[in-house]
């Protein structure tokens, strides 16, 4: 005890007050301020995604079109690379020199010393097998498996499409499903069946330490989900005829579409020129994509559904069927073809100006008499009197569109085009209202003029004829998953409002085309095929070769549309190719043809269009004015209309100038590649 005894209280008070200061601050930090729990969670909780295997795609016979193949990345964790480490041996294993080794290690070090980074990318299974056993001798190195799409048969690129990293827009639209760096279908079936193919991603919540290394499950894995692999798709394609078709179309520009009429399943979907889908996978995909994009023949252009062609003579049966249904003609209706057709006061030349004499419906189809179908078309468009062109035309248009022309067929692929089936309002705009008559638009009657169709629409038209009046919507995927689920809309018949008995005369005519008509050279011994050639031209000196057909006549199993651009007569190129496809599908072999044509000849033929003309051709729009109206008498269906030529020429001339340097450059590149 001394006189400073009281100071114990002061000291105690100071201690108590300071401890209270600490407690006050703790109270604020722990109870009042809510941010810190969130900070802590966001620092330590990390979401890891388990990407499921993407669904494989098979052809209709179970052959693999796309599968996932394992590739191996060799990963390095720099701070685990410890002596004894034989750098020389290691470099030998990877076939690199020490400088390269040091460069890669420096890069890995820069990324992180304690986390894995890629040392060697995407080794093939064969390459990996050679180093697999020895890799464990080197501390710090591990392998990581990654799955890539591979296409064992290298076919059907435009059907299969490709996958690529998601864009910001996809991420926004997906509502949180996609993240930066994910892959998604960009085109083709990969895009349209993305939600089925991708499967369901697994999510793992993990705790990570300050260096980002996983340290265990968050909430004991209660919120984790496992990855569910993507569904398997069974395509309707038949890989045999798909491959065969691509070979036949080699070095040609055009398209083959084959459909099974009894189901609407697409058997063959060739767009030429094509490319190897394997180019769009892996390390060099960007480079390959750029090269393909620059290719003037545009391999990315999906011709079966995006290219528009005048159907030409292959359209003629449609007019006849509609007219028959409406009682405007009968199979016995005849027309005397003097080699030209008189519409109003105009003379329009028949094909090649030859006289067909008296033709009935079947003969008109078989001989492709323009005059007959001009007559049929005028009957249709003038059925309400020749002044009421407008309403009769609209009625005609409605009937035609039932055949799937001028409208999308809802193919299960992205990017399908409508073709072009002009409306009455279109002509009202071009000519003033009431200023056009049947003669003005008469070229529509023979599938020319503004009428444009995709190869898919033409093939579908053949299915309708083969089925005597209905079609199934064409589709490329016949079953999803193990249960082979199919969308119900693909199992419903779409009727075209023409009774089945009216088809016989047309079919008879189409059979004659192959038996002894224009396509006689493509006759397949022992198979009754019905077909129709078309020689449709747009604005080129050389015609597009068109052929549509189905076979056999009774119980049809395949309907085909073939278009070879800038090739000439339908019978010359398209028809033989179609006949090979038909025979290959029905018999799986090619018999000796009496006409002597062989698939090898077509496979080897190179009829790629001249680049100078070609650049503008893809961009050619529907003809703005009806050629016949301005041209009058001198028009035949393979000749140009001069009045129409003028504006187009100037327009295309400009384009030509603009594109020329690019095209030349592309050509030079191509040559270099070949050497």
């Amino acid at each position: 005890m001394n006189r400073f005894f009281g100071r114990r209280y002061i000291i105690s008070a100071i201690f108590i007050v300071l401890i209270l200061v600490l407690l006050g601050r703790l109270f604020y930090v722990q109870i009042i301020d809510d941010r810190y729990r969130i900070y802590a969670e966001s620092q330590a909780k990390r979401i890891f995604y388990l990407n499921p295997a993407r669904g494989p795609i098979l052809d209709r016979n179970g052959k693999i079109l796309v599968q996932n193949q394992a590739f191996y990345d060799v990963m390095v964790t720099p701070n685990l690379v410890k002596p004894p480490f034989d750098t020389g041996e290691f470099c030998k294993l990877f076939n690199i020199d020490t400088a390269e080794f040091n460069r890669r290690m420096a890069k890995a070090n820069k990324y992180s010393r304690s986390q894995q980074s890629v040392f060697e990318k995407q080794l093939s299974p064969e390459a990996y097998a050679s180093i697999e056993e020895r890799l464990s001798e080197f501390s710090g190195f591990q392998s990581s498996t990654r799955y890539l799409r591979t296409y064992p048969e290298s076919v059907a690129a435009q059907f299969l499409g490709y996958i690529g990293e998601v864009h910001d827009n996809d991420i926004k639209k997906s509502g949180g499903y996609y993240h930066q760096g994910d892959f998604t279908g960009v085109t083709g079936v990969e895009k349209s069946y993305e939600s089925v193919l991708r499967g369901r991603r697994g999510v793992q919540y993990k705790l990570v330490d300050a260096r980002g290394r996983p340290q265990g499950e968050w909430a004991n894995g209660a919120f984790d989900t496992t990855a569910v692999a993507g569904e398997r798709l069974t395509s309707s394609l038949d890989i045999r005829i798909q491959k065969f078709g691509e070979q036949l179309m080699h070095n040609k520009v055009g398209s083959i579409v084959a459909i099974e009429p009894s189901t609407g399943e697409i058997l063959c979907y060739v767009s030429s020129p094509t490319y190897d889908p394997n180019l769009m996978v892996g390390h060099d995909r960007g480079k390959h994509a750029a090269e393909l994009y620059k290719d003037p023949y545009k391999p990315f252009f999906i011709r079966p559904i995006q290219a528009y062609y005048p159907p030409g003579s292959s359209f003629k049966p449609v007019d006849a069927l509609i007219a028959e249904q409406q009682g405007l003609i009968t199979p016995q209706t005849t027309y005397f073809c003097p080699g030209y057709y008189v519409s109003g006061n105009r003379h329009i030349k028949c094909f090649h100006g030859e006289s067909h004499g008296t033709v009935d419906l079947a003969k008109a189809v078989a001989e492709s008499c323009n005059g007959y179908f001009f007559m049929v078309f005028e009957k249709l468009v003038n059925k309400y009197g020749w002044k009421n062109t407008d309403s009769a035309f609209t009625a005609w248009r409605d009937n035609v569109s039932k055949f799937g022309l001028g409208t999308r067929l809802d193919l299960d692929m992205p990017g399908e085009g409508r073709g072009n089936l002009p409306k009455a309002t279109y002509y009202d705009k071009v000519y003033h209202k009431g200023g056009w008559r049947s003669g003005t638009v008469i070229s529509l009657g023979i599938g020319q003029g503004e009428l444009l169709a995709t190869p898919l629409q033409l093939a579908n038209l053949e299915c309708t004829i083969a089925n005597h009046g209905y079609y199934y919507k064409p589709h490329l995927v016949k079953g999803i998953g193990d249960k082979n689920i199919i969308r119900t809309e693909y199992t419903q018949r779409n009727f075209v409002n023409v009774d089945s008995q009216y088809f016989e005369p047309v079919i008879n005519g189409m059979q004659q085309v192959v038996e002894n008509g224009t396509a006689v050279a493509s006759k397949i011994p022992g198979i009754v095929m019905c077909g129709k050639t078309g020689t449709a031209q747009i604005n080129n000196k050389v015609d597009n070769s068109v052929f549509v057909c189905y076979a056999p006549r009774d119980h049809p199993r395949i309907a085909v549309a073939v278009i070879v651009e800038n090739a000439g007569q339908g019978a010359q190129w398209a028809a033989p190719i179609a006949s090979f496809i038909v025979e290959k599908y029905l018999r799986d072999s090619i018999s000796v043809r009496p006409s002597g044509i062989t698939p090898e000849f077509f496979m080897n033929a190179n009829i790629l269009p001249d680049l100078g003309n070609y650049g503008q051709k893809l961009k050619a729009k529907p003809v703005p004015r009806d050629t016949l109206n301005k041209m009058g008498i001198d028009t035949s269906d393979h000749k140009e209309a001069p009045a129409n030529k003028a504006p187009l020429k100037s327009a295309s001339g400009r384009k030509h100038k603009a594109t020329k340097p690019v095209l030349i450059a592309a050509l030079v590149n191509k040559e270099e590649d070949e050497h």
């Binding site: 930090v29 109870i31 969670e41």
Partner: protein, 424 residues
Amino acid sequence: MNTNQQRNFFFNVDWLMVGIYLTLCAIGVLNIHSAIFNPKQPALYDLSTDYGKQLLFVVIGISVGIVILLLDTRFISSLAPFFYGITVFLLMLVLVVGRNVGGNQAWIPLFGGFRLQPSEFAKLSTCLLLARYLSGTNIKITDTRSFAIAAAIIGLPMFLIMLQPDAGSTLVFSCLIFVLYREGLSPYFLILEGLFILLFVLTLKLNNAVGIVGVLTGLAILIILMFRRNGKLIRVIVMGLAICVSFVFCVRFIYTKVLKPHQKSRIDIVLGITSDPKGKGYNVHQSIIAIGSGKMWGRGYMRGTQTKFAFVPEQQTDFIFCTVGEEWGFAGSTVVLSLYLLLVLRIIRIAERQRSPFSRIYAYGVASAIFFHVFINVGMTIGIVPSIGIPLPLISYGGSSLLSFTVMIFILIKLDSNRMGIIY
């Protein structure tokens, strides 16, 4: 009574102190276990881990404590200068042979990978020698000579530790001002120390030394004018003003010229002059997140992500309180701080019941040292004190620190158990 004492070594032992001591040690081991838990070595007693080692230190500490209880109290007092001498020698030795860890040359390597940190023991021996000196006859702290000697006893180890340089451990010795105050030092010193802290903060925060000096002078003149007749007060005020003004300029000088950039930045962050949660302020930022995320009841034993996953650095030593805050929440933090407060107040109570001034002075030294450590360490983890690395007594990992505090506390218990005995 003497016979009783001889019969039973645990006679008159303050069991509350022992209880608090053991509780804090247990809290320490458990929190270290949780903070740096290694799933490959889960056992608490695995000697290759820090928690295993800490458990060993606790066992050693308890053994040493029992040995101390067996000693004669005279022994402790008379050997104080000897201990002090050894400590000073070790503090010099460490400057020569010391192992440099984290920028401080503070450790002398021992056998088996253990290291001795002499600065931890310097607190103990300084307290002992200070008590021994101040309890001597005719020693009054108010005498200039006695004050100077007392200051020298404190100042020598401070100086040596500053050479390491270990700012935290150096500052610990300033807490002994409470001892001197209790023994009769003028309260002006205490006020001055508080004023220094205030001025220190203001000087650096406002960055305007002249302005502060002006305000101080104005205040002094005002007080002098108000109490014109009180001559003694005027003298004190004038002296205080002179000291304060020189302090302000000293602070500025030291801050701008002497301090190293990393020390400056630590001060800057605590004072809120700069904020840099990714760089220099990372430790404190992560530490506050850890403690703040504990909320009321904490995240539970071994559930703290901040500390276990090394977001908080030095999570088992200087930042061990983060684990307490994160896993046991405000409730746990309050319990731990209350235990410390209870310990310190208990020591003060023990101090005041001693008949021997040596025991009393020593007890105040122990209380001040423990309190200072707790306040600075916890204050640092919640960002109200600059992060100067000093351990949390009995809880932080570290053998030197634990043993030093153990010996401190058990010497006190021994002295207290003998309080009825002869006064030396």
